[in-house]
């Protein structure tokens, strides 16, 4: 039997199938739900997991305000269950704002930035890595394999200070990779570097105050570029340097300001040299163990935070929870409905065509051709519905991708990769095809049992 004959016979039945419209609607909804809910669920859940695994999300601040942090205290806290390490963050945990004075302009990216520096104000922060914190690069070299006074910048680099636009939407980011190899010259914002230092009052109570240092120009070589994401520490205006580089910058600024760190005379030098007055990060082995660490260290009488030093947007966590629970429940409900409808459609098609099947058998058609007609009928319906669902998903994602790409970088996690969407559409197609195949296979025995004379006498 020719394919065109199968098609011809099936088409007539498709038009008569009373579940035609319902199947089209539900199956396209199923396809859209599988591709969209799954894509956004994967994007948000991955974002939350990436955040929870990040070093700074697991790092909790420990201050000497209640009790000073002697070596014994640090040792005791290090031995608390789930504590991965306790890191001295003196000179490292302040945010140091800088202005960009100049970039060497060795390549096109640097030359373009230099032009912009003439007319636009700049604002970046220079941050030192802490303990064994790693900031992997997506291009160029890591800080660990680079000399001091090297730095890494974000792939989406925005070092400018503009009026308004406090949500940082629709920024003209610079591609960080175009600046690899350049040397950037910076100076502390307002000609100063400020930080909080701890000191004792009445030899007992510990408090902190701001210190202001005369900023020197610093030159940093851009050796690599890191992935800038709202889920991990380091935004579009953050420049990372190694711990050694950061401490050297601060020490040189102190020297420039006339603070003698070896003398132990000023409160600043006493703080710098006395580790009991330092701030620390207590790094948890797992994000979920922060609360137990907080409880235990608080019981010991020390001042410790109850959350990490970096946080993800609450809306991202909520979206991840909603999509992975409610979203999956919705998906299951639509799936069950689609299965029920396809079963009903298959049964209806079979029951309404019994006499035709009998006639076809009487004139010599084999069971396999009759099965092929019925299978074609159902496949036509679901594939048509799949195409409608796929087209709707594609339009939906394209529109949302465009909208989010013009929002703040915190919303970039909602930009869906088309290859991921295609993968989920493939899964949706496989799913609906398998459902149809199973429904039709169930019918084979019924088709075989039909006797032409009985079927025709039922007419």
């Amino acid at each position: 039997m020719k394919f065109s004959n199968i098609r011809f016979l099936s088409k007539a039945n498709i038009k008569r199938n009373k579940y035609n419209v319902s199947i089209t609607v539900i199956v396209s909804l199923l396809v859209a739900a599988v591709s969209l809910i799954s894509s956004y669920a994967v994007a948000t859940v991955n974002a939350v997991n990436e955040y929870k695994a990040s070093y700074r999300a697991r790092s909790v601040t420990l201050n000497p305000f209640l009790k000073i942090l002697t070596d014994d205290a640090i040792k005791a806290i290090s031995n608390v269950e789930h504590v991965q390490s306790v890191e001295d963050v003196t000179g490292l945990d302040d945010k140091y704002p800088y202005n960009i004075l100049n970039i060497s302009g060795q390549n096109d990216g640097g030359k373009r930035l230099n032009k912009q520096l003439k007319t636009r104000d700049t604002y970046v922060t220079v941050e030192g890595l802490i303990g064994d914190e790693k900031k992997p690069v997506i291009a160029g070299k890591n800080l660990e394999e680079s000399p001091t006074f090297s730095c890494i910048i974000p792939n989406l680099f925005y070092p400018f200070e503009d009026e308004g636009n406090i949500n940082y939407e629709n920024l003209d980011y610079i591609d960080g990779t175009s600046l690899i190899g350049e040397t950037i010259t910076l100076k502390g914002d307002g000609g100063k570097i400020s930080f909080l230092y701890n000191h004792l009052i009445n030899d007992e109570e510990c408090t902190n105050d701001f210190a202001y240092l005369k900023a020197k120009e610093i030159k940093l070589k851009i050796v690599g570029v890191f992935h800038c994401s709202r889920n991990t520490y380091g935004s579009f205006d953050t420049i990372f340097v190694s711990k050694d580089t950061q401490l050297q910058i601060i020490e040189e600024a102190m020297k420039n300001t006339g603070i003698d760190l070896s003398s132990n005379e000023s409160d600043i030098s006493k703080w710098w040299n006395n580790t009991s007055l330092h701030d620390y990060y207590v790094v948890a082995d797992n994000y979920d163990n922060i609360t137990s660490i907080y409880n235990e260290v608080s019981e010991m009488g020390y001042d410790i935070d109850d959350s990490g030093s970096f946080f993800i947007k609450e809306s991202t966590k909520i979206m991840a929870d909603v999509l992975s629970t409610v979203g999956m429940f919705l998906l299951s409900a639509i799936f069950i409905l689609a299965v029920i409808l396809l079963l009903q459609s298959t049964n209806f098609s079979f029951n309404s065509q019994k006499s035709n099947i009998g006639l076809l058998k009487a004139i010599g058609y084999k069971n396999k051709y009759i099965f092929a007609c019925m299978l074609y009928e159902q496949l036509f319906l679901v594939i048509r519905a799949f195409l409608i669902g796929a087209a709707s998903s594609l339009v939906f994602v394209t529109v949302l991708n465009y909208i989010f790409s013009h929002k703040s970088y915190g919303e970039f996690i909602y930009i869906i990769d088309y290859s991921m969407l295609a993968a989920f559409l493939g899964i949706a197609l496989a799913l609906v095809t398998v459902i149809v195949a199973i429904c039709e296979i169930v019918l084979i025995s019924k088709i075989v049992k039909i006797q032409p004379r009985e079927a025709m006498s039922a007419v």
């Binding site: 302040d94 604002y123 400020s194 510990c206 520490y233 030093s309 970096f310 946080f311």
Partner: protein
């Protein structure tokens, strides 16, 4: 003095006044702008409180607590710390420690002089002695 002389003096005076006014206007135009907001902060013993604000340009955020705050649980002193939390990039400033006394005068607490623009929350946390209730004037200078 002749009429011509008086007229010359008048001209000089008018010119001087005009230039002075222009300089004054220019100074006002480039002078740092300060916005202030008044909040009532209440931090229970061992607990925390949060106020939200947005910083339209990079600058300084500071709190000035009023005199004679109310301190809970019979204490005369309240040991606390506060930090500025940036909702835009998820970072937190270092904690700034401060102590309030029942008979204390106004106290200013600064969170940073060059904080980036964006949406912020100021979190106050009581770490020792009693909690407190006080009126604070939050100043944004940019």
């Amino acid at each position: 003095m002749t009429e011509k002389g008086i007229s010359r003096i008048k001209k000089i005076l008018v010119t001087f006044i005009a230039i002075t006014c222009l300089i004054l206007i220019a100074c006002i135009g480039v002078a740092a702008k300060t916005e202030t907001y008044t909040f009532k902060v209440e931090v229970g013993t061992g607990l925390s409180d949060v106020v939200s604000l947005y910083m339209p340009k990079k600058g300084r955020i500071s709190d000035t607590f009023g005199s004679c705050p109310t301190i809970f649980d019979g204490y005369k002193k309240s040991e606390n710390k506060a930090q500025a939390i940036n909702d835009t990039d998820g970072t937190k400033s270092k904690w700034k420690n401060f102590v309030l006394n029942t008979d204390g005068g106004p106290l200013t607490v600064a969170y940073g002089n060059s904080l980036s623009k964006g949406n912020y929350r100021i979190k106050y946390k009581n770490i020792g002695k009693g909690g407190f209730r006080a009126t604070t004037t939050l100043s944004l200078t940019y």
